[in-house]
Symmetry: none
Subunit: 196 residues, 4 copies
C-alpha cells in the first residue's frame, strides 16, 4: 500500500467514524478536515465530493462485512450455523460502532438505508447459496429461495438493528426462519444463544 493510499484510508476511517457518530448530513467537510488536521484542498484532492466520500465509506464497510460473510459460507460448519453466521456478520462490528444505536438515529437514515440496500444486494446471494446447501442436505425445503432470504434479512435488520428487541422477538424470528425455509422445528433454535 502506497503512502497516498494509506493517507486516504485514514481519511476514510475518520469520515466513517464521524458519519456514524453525528450523521452524514450533520458532518460537514469542515468537520472532517478539522478532525483529520488537513486542509480543504487536501480533502478535495482525495475525494471528488462529500457524497462520493460516503459511497467510499459504505463500500469499505460492505467489503469488510462481505468478506466475513464469505468466510462463513465456505467454512466447515453445519448449514444452519452458516445462515446465522452470515446474518450476524451483517451487523457493524464492535470497533466500528462506537455509539450504540447510532445507525438508527434519524440523522443517519440516509447512510443506514444505503448500507442496508447494498448489504442486501451482496448478502442475499451468499445466503441463498447456503440455503441451497441446506436443501441438498435435506435440512431445508422450500422454493423461491432469494425472495425468502431477502425477507429474512429485511426482518432481521428491522427487528435487531435498533437494539430494542425482546426474547419474544427472537423466538418469533426463529420460528419464522424455520418455517420460511421449511426446516424442522428446533433446527435454528441455537440462534437464541447467538443474538446477544
Amino acid at each position: 500500500m502506497k503512502k497516498g493510499e494509506r493517507r486516504k484510508r485514514e481519511l476514510l476511517e475518520i469520515a466513517y467514524k464521524m458519519f456514524i457518530a453525528r450523521g452524514y448530513e450533520n458532518t460537514s467537510v469542515d468537520d472532517i478536515i478539522a478532525e483529520a488536521g488537513i486542509a480543504k484542498g487536501t480533502y478535495y484532492y482525495h475525494f471528488e465530493s462529500k457524497e462520493q466520500t460516503l459511497e467510499e465509506v459504505i463500500g469499505m464497510m460492505i467489503e469488510q462485512e462481505t468478506e466475513a460473510a464469505k468466510q462463513v459460507l465456505h467454512a466447515d460448519i453445519p448449514v444452519p450455523q452458516k445462515i446465522v453466521g452470515i446474518i450476524a456478520s451483517l451487523r457493524p462490528q464492535q470497533e466500528e460502532q462506537p455509539i450504540e444505536g447510532a445507525l438508527m438515529r434519524p440523522e443517519n437514515l440516509i447512510m443506514h438505508s444505503k448500507i442496508k440496500r447494498r448489504l442486501i444486494e451482496t448478502v442475499v446471494p451468499l445466503l441463498s447459496e447456503a440455503v441451497e446447501q441446506g436443501i441438498a442436505q435435506g435440512i431445508f425445503s422450500c422454493d423461491c429461495i432469494p425472495e425468502r432470504v431477502r425477507m429474512l434479512v429485511s426482518v432481521s435488520s428491522d427487528t435487531f438493528d435498533e437494539g430494542r428487541f425482546s426474547e419474544r422477538d427472537i423466538a418469533v424470528f426463529i420460528d419464522m426462519t424455520e418455517k420460511l425455509l421449511g426446516a424442522k422445528p428446533g433446527t435454528m433454535g441455537f440462534i437464541r444463544e447467538l443474538i446477544r
Copy 2:
C-alpha cells in the same frame, strides 16, 4: 370549520404534496409559500417551524389511514380479509400519492421512516385484535401476536412499498403470513388478487 382552520388545512395539503413530490429536505419554505401564494409571515403564523409542519402533515396522513383501518377491523367480513384490508389501507391512497414510488426515493427517507414508525405504532394493535378474532374462530393459531404482526407489517412495507415486487414475492409473503399466524395453507391465498 373556521376560516383560519380551512386555510391551515389547505397549506397542510400543499406541503404534503410538495414533501411527497420533492422530498422534505428538498422543499424549502420558500417553495411552499410560492406554491400556496402566501407571504412568509402567513406560513409562520400557521406553523411553528418547517419541522413541525412535517409532523402535522404526517399526523394528518396517519389519522386518515388509521380511520380506514379501523373501519375494516369492525366491518362484517371474514377475518383473513380484515388482515389484508388493514395492511392494504396502510399504503397511501391513489389520490394522495401523486408520484409513483415517491415515498421510497432517498430524499423522502426521513418522511417515509417517520410515517412507517407511526403507522406501525397505530396499526399493530388493530391487526393484533383481528388476529385474536381469528384465533377465537379457529382460523389462526399462534402466540406472541404483536411480535408476529409487527414483523408482517415490516416485511410488507419493505417488500411492497417500493413498488418493485414480483409474483414470487407475493407468493412468499402469503406463505409467510399463513405460517406466522398458524393458518391452514390457502387461507390467505386471496391476497394475490388484492395486491395490484
Copy 3:
C-alpha cells in the same frame, strides 16, 4: 379613570416589566400580547408602535420619580438631605425593579440610556434649586451650579446604578460632592448611611 385608560395602564405596566426583565429589543409585541392575553389588534389600538410604547413606559417612570423628587425638594428638611434625597429618588423603586441590576444589562442599554437622559433633564433643575437654597443658607459656595449638578448626577448614575460599588466609592463620592459644591468637610457625610 375610565375603563379604557385603566386597560392601557395595565398594558403599560406589563410592557414595563417585560422591558426591564428581558430588554426592550428582546421583548416582541407578540410576547407582550401573550403576557397580557390580548390580541395583536388590541395592542395597536392602544399604542401607535412598539417604540412609542417604550416612550410611554419611560414617561410613566419619569413621572413617578420626578414626583418623589419634587416632594423632597419642598420638604422641611436640611438642604444637604434634600440633595441626597433627590438623588436617591432617581433610582427605580423596589416594586418597580423586579430584577436586580436589570437596567444595567446590555439588552437594556437603550432603555437605560433613554431613562438616564430624561432623568437628568428633569432632575438637574430640581437639584440646582436645592443647591441654590444651600448657597443662600451659607452651606454651599460655588458657581456654575447646573454643570456641577449634572456631573454629580452623572457620576452617581455610573457609580451606583450598577450596584457594584465599595465603601471607598462612597467615600470618594461624598468628598467629591462636598468639594464640587464648596461645602465644609463632613457636611454630606450622612450620605454614607443612606446608600445601602
Copy 4:
C-alpha cells in the same frame, strides 16, 4: 504580515467605519460585504460571527488607544500633562471618527458602552500610576486613587464624548479634577487649551 491577515485587517477597518457610521445593529453583514466587495463566505471565513467582528473591532481600537496612552505615561513631561494626555488619548482619533458624534447616537449605544467599559479597564491603571507619580512629586495629595481616577474618566466620557459641552463644563471639570486629586488651584488649568 501574511496575505490573509492583511485582508482581515482591511475588513476590520471597513466594519469599524460602518459600525461607527450606521451603528452596529443597523449594519448588516450584507452591508459589510457589499462595501468590501467580497462574498458572504469570505466574510465568514474570516469572522466567526457578526458579534465577534464587533469584539475584534473594539479590540483593535482599544489596542491603538492604549498604546498612545502608554507612550504619554512614559514620556518626559510634567505629570499634570500626562493626566490630560492620557484622558485625551481615549477619544477616537480624527481619522478614526469619520462622523462627528457618531458614537453617541442611540444606534451606537452598544458599541459605545462596550468601548467605554474596556477603555476604563485599561486606562484606570495607567492614570492611577500617573497620579501616584504626582503624589510622589508633591503635586497631588489624595487617597483612593483608582476610585477617583475612575470617576474622572467616567465624567470626562459623559461630558465630552457627546461633543456638546460649554466653556463652563470645562471649567467645572478642571476644578473637579484639581479638587479630586488634591492639587493646588491652577495646576490643571492648561486643560482648557487642550480640549478643542
